[in-house]
Amino acid sequence: MWALFVARNFEFIRDRAGFGWNILFPFLIVAGFGVIFSSDSSSEFKMGVFPVNPDKMNVKALKIPEKLKTDGYIKLVPFETYDEAIDKLLHHKIDILLEDKGPKLRYWISDSSPKGWVMEKVAKEAIIPEDMFASRVIKQQIKGEQIRYIDWLFPGILGMNIMFSSLFGVGYVIVKYRRNGVLKRLKATPVTAFEYLTAQMISRVMILLSTSFLVWFGCDLLFSFKMQGSYFDAFVIFLAGTICLVSLGLIIACRGTNEELTNGIINFICWPMMFLSEVWFSIEGTSAWVKSIAKMLPLTHFLSAIRKIINDGATLSQVSSEIVILLAMSLIFLSIGSIFFSWTR
């Protein structure tokens, strides 16, 4: 088993293109998002204004309410003509369109755009003096450190990378070995399926934890992630999550010799998992059935636990339910993968 473990590690490390990509890919994603979300792009809404020369736009000189000019969540987009601007609104490239012509505020929104509906309220509120609210509302602000989007996103990116590497690095690779006869050659030796699969699994788990550490270290130098919990707890969750996802890879690997079909199956599993498990955004507020499906996915529990530790400072006992689910799923996946494993087609 040790020899197979070492051999698989050599295979991974010496394949420089694959090895490099496994580290570079998550690093580039995190770095890219870090740059995007640390610049002025905190704007959530796009407000078109016409007629304004885009090259000579002077925000101060615009005849729109002052509040709209200085709101950090609104990006002003100038257009020279009405036709050009309304086309962008129709295609949801902007959320609202204002005419730069006082004194009455004239605006256009799309009925089918939820953001447009919100922006209409914002635009109307902008023309009401601030003191009108004073006696009617009480503003409360959250105290303490707030979680940056990049801090929330980072565990998701690492989890996504582990998911792709587990499924492709185990599922796809073993199917390839079965097709080109490597597994058949091993079957002719005293090596057992248990020994082979265990070696593959340990190798992949070790490689993924090492590369995740490298990516974390590199990204941390750039973005100084806020770690609220313990590094040991995070390691335990990474270990449990990686074992679970590698075990899922073993199910894909247990049969089949068609690499293209395997590729399709892996993508079919990965893409819904990526969106439903909240790698990029929260599914809070979606239908109950969507949340039910999400709960069946291992990445959901992995990311839920790791975010609780990294972002909220939770301890292992506070994420024990996720750990139990991940271990139970690992056991089920491993059993299915081992029972149905075949050396040959």
Binding site: W2, A3, L4, V6, A7, F10, E11, R14, D15, Y177, N180, G181, V182, K184, R185, K187, A188, T189, P190, V191, W343, T344
Partner: protein, 245 residues
Amino acid sequence: MSNKSNIIEVRNLKKKYNNNTAVDGVCLSIFTGSCFGLLGPNGAGKTTTVEMMENIIPQDSGDIFYKQGIRDKTFNQEIGIQFQHTELLAYLTVEETLRTFASFYNKHLPVEEIISLCMLENIKKRLNNKISGGQRQRLLLGLSFLNDPDLIFLDEPTTGLDPQARKHIWEIIRNMNKKGKTFILTTHYMEEAQSLCDTIAIMDKGCIIEQGSPESLIDKHCKGMDCPWNLESVFLKLTGKSLKE
């Protein structure tokens, strides 16, 4: 009844793939220390027969006895196999590949001895994906000898090799055979079978249609015929001259 000198014996072996009969009632007895050649046109069932004997694929029916008994866990420790189509782990060197495979066995020959026997010294540090076809065949042959097996299966061991590489592999097989190792080989090269094998079986349509020593087969089928006095004439006479696939 099993002959005590048989290393492997096959009785009424059958295998079907969907509705196609690949092997249809094959019976074989292979003596310890012999070099047994299994010949036949493409699709005759040679590889399927050999892979059932190797315990790589299960038979639908029939019996296989190894050293007069059923094949148990020790079978894989005592046999060597070279498959027709096998890739190796691309990013291991030749030497690492041999050492990795050696570790699978309870006992094995020194890796250096295999490197020397199969003339792999010059390429032992080279990655498997950087070696030529002939070098790869020599490495695969070396892997089949690693555990100092009693019985060695070679499925078309010299296909695609140049004459020099082929002659070299013949030499290795002859030397090992002289040391008492038993070989079962399939080949499409009649010259190879005639040169190496002491017993030949010819298969067609899943059945053994003729069996004997190369000399006896030539004598039986070429006598009085207007054909070259060799195994190829025997093969063509028995399996026909038309294309089989």
